[in-house]
């Protein structure tokens, strides 16, 4: 699955995107977030306050938990500030 990071999340994590296999024990979006928090200090800090993070799965906003298959494009980013 492809994971994308934008704006300060990209800077905090230090990369714009990565391609990973669905990690062991991760079957849902919430589980993926918990897994992300365990990937070291930069991830732990970036994902500490999920109120400051928006999530898109396959380029659509997702606010509830959903099941993941491992083929998704998942993006994590701050609230948008365009316009």
């Amino acid at each position: 699955m492809k994971i994308l990071y934008f704006a300060w999340l990209r800077s905090a994590i230090g990369m714009p995107e990565e391609t990973i296999n669905l990690p062991e024990g991760v079957r849902s979006l919430h589980q993926l977030i918990e897994w992300q928090k365990g990937r070291g200090p930069a991830f732990e800090k970036a994902f500490a306050d999920m109120d400051t993070i928006r999530i898109a799965v396959n380029q659509e906003y997702i606010t509830d938990d959903i099941t993941l298959t491992g083929n998704e494009e998942i993006a994590f980013f701050p609230p948008v500030t365009g316009g």
Binding site: F6, A7, R10, E60, A75, F77, V80, T81, G82, G83
Partner: protein, 152 residues
């Protein structure tokens, strides 16, 4: 029509294109957003707009469809730039055309309010001293978008 581009656009030319060869348009509203030299009390010398290619176009298309569902429009256009832009350069353009002014005004304001809270763009501000900061979400933008919520 929606366009996401790095290049500067020309508001007047876009309005002319929308109305050319049309005889059924009574009202055209345009909104142009520009880089201004201050934000939230701080000086600004330039902005860099980051976006999410692919999702940006999808979200703008959805917002435009919704505007056309809610109002009777003879034309609608969103152009949003990305990349670095200096003070007084245009960032975003919305144009709406209708038989009547009420529809054109409401749709243009709706497009801007939704775009501000839904389209995946992020602004990085450069201060006059060269330091940079990601712009924070504005409570007033959320409130502006909320006023368009429908119960159905």
């Amino acid at each position: 029509m929606i366009t996401v581009q790095r290049e500067v656009f020309d508001t007047g030319a876009e309005i002319r294109k929308m109305t050319a060869d049309r005889t059924d348009i009574g009202a055209v509203v345009s909104f142009t957003g520009l880089v201004r030299d201050f934000n939230e009390g701080k000086g600004v010398q330039a902005l860099t707009l980051e976006h999410y290619p692919g999702m940006t176009e999808k979200q703008l298309a959805k917002i435009e469809e919704e505007a056309n569902r809610r109002w009777r429009l003879q034309g609608s256009l969103i152009i949003h730039r990305y990349g670095r832009m200096e003070v007084s350069e245009p960032i975003v353009l919305v144009v709406t055309a209708s038989a009547h002014r009420g529809d054109a005004f409401a749709a243009a304001e709706f497009l801007m309010d939704w775009l501000k809270t839904q389209a995946p763009f992020w602004k990085l501000e450069e201060d006059p001293d060269g330091s940079t900061d990601w712009v924070s979400e504005r409570q007033s933008d959320l409130e502006a978008a909320n006023k368009w919520q429908q119960s159905d």
